[in-house]
Symmetry: C2
């Protein structure tokens, strides 16, 4: 058996999220189906760096799995891409040590969140950006608010209520807001993210940007450790899992 | 009654083309449904600059229609966009003279065709570009071949066989091939295009680009006036109707 690591991209539009759920089309299910066919029926289970929710996209999700097939990684990648549905692509594949673990070994992740602030949203961007109805936020205020988020904090206020995680201390390394034409892109990287954390940060910063919340209030929001003090969870289809970092690689 | 001219964009993926066809979801049908609702059931018929086929996109299709509704064009545009499905957007709307005609008054059009030459196609581009399986064509050869197409010619060789048009003389004003990252974009403008003409030109130039056809052979191909002498019709989902030109506007 060898362990393979694959970097994958998927358009989240047509999936009920990453993880297998009975009766739903998910990314994990589609990949495991193809791998099981390639292994002539022998069940293959894949492990990802983490889940993504329905309609969330990935440009750099990472998975690992074990296989007895003696196919070089580049050929394995091509064979997978031929058989996978077109809304999932394997971007890169390599053999890794047999103790590599796509989830346990994660040292950090980077996400992107995109708002489309054009007056009329392009129909080609409707599944890939969140339209703001032409509203252009005050990005300077959002950047000021973001300062309070960067660093090591208990991020309970940015964590969906229905979670079983106990330790909610995480480090946000970078949080940047950049215009790309009429699209506002937020990129955020850190050593780990709580459930819905990026979408709640996006929703909270948006409220700052449109003047519904003071930029200077973020410190208090974080100190409250109260989800109710933060903003709304921003819509799923503006979010991209962009890169997963591993210490040794 | 006033006549309104609207510039619209649509993602062709979910449509059986522009024109109404029984039992099919088409762009014309969706717009006429909304307009008829806005007019409290009074049937509205719209006229476009021309049809587009199933899966062909538009970033600048033009339509006209007459209405008794006394709504300023900007408000009419907003009302339409609220009710239209998200894969059709009205980009601009204005009142025009009552004898303006979206099809008869066309003085020219510009189309775009996009090939994605990356090794692994992004899942986000699968409906919007034609993937080449990583093949990168010889664009210099394609540009040389394009020289023979620019100008006024009988373009019978680039016209789908099943057409009733008699006069097949058209003028191609510009034909450009430009890399945008790993995507090759062809833009073509002219005073008029025959059925499937852009897609057949794209297919023929592609064959030149990959060495299956000589760049110097295009003159003979055009002179043959024989569809069988030209290349394959390139896939629909790489094509965009980008702009429609009118003399007086």
């Amino acid at each position: 058996m060898v362990r393979l690591k694959a970097t994958i991209s998927y358009d989240g539009t047509g999936f009920a999220g990453y993880q297998v759920q009975p009766g739903e089309r998910t990314v994990q299910l589609e990949i495991e189906k193809v791998l099981t066919t390639m292994q002539k029926g022998t069940q293959v289970k894949i492990t990802a760096s983490g889940r993504t929710d329905a309609r969330v996209h990935a440009t750099g999700q990472v998975i690992h799995f074990d296989t007895a097939l003696e196919i070089p990684p580049e050929k394995f990648q091509k064979a997978l891409n031929v058989q996978l549905p077109r809304d999932i692509r394997v971007l890169h594949m390599e053999q890794v040590k047999e103790d590599f673990h796509a989830r346990y070994d994660v040292s950090g992740k980077r996400y992107r969140y995109i708002w489309d602030c054009s007056t009329v949203q392009s129909p080609f961007r409707r599944h890939y950006t969140v339209e703001t109805g032409g509203v252009k936020p005050n990005v300077e205020a959002m950047r000021e608010a973001a300062q309070a988020i960067v660093g090591t904090h208990d991020f309970s206020c940015f964590c969906a209520a229905n979670t079983s995680v106990v330790d909610k201390v995480r480090t946000v390394e970078t949080l940047e807001l950049v215009w790309q034409g009429e699209e506002l892109h937020m990129t955020i990287s850190g050593n780990g993210f709580l459930y819905n954390m990026v979408r709640i940060i996006a929703g909270t910063l948006w409220e700052v940007g449109v003047g519904r919340r003071e930029a200077s209030s973020l410190e208090k929001t974080i100190a409250s450790m109260d989800r109710a003090q933060a903003g709304k969870t921003a819509p799923a289809h503006g979010l991209y899992l962009e890169q997963v970092f591993y210490q040794d690689l």
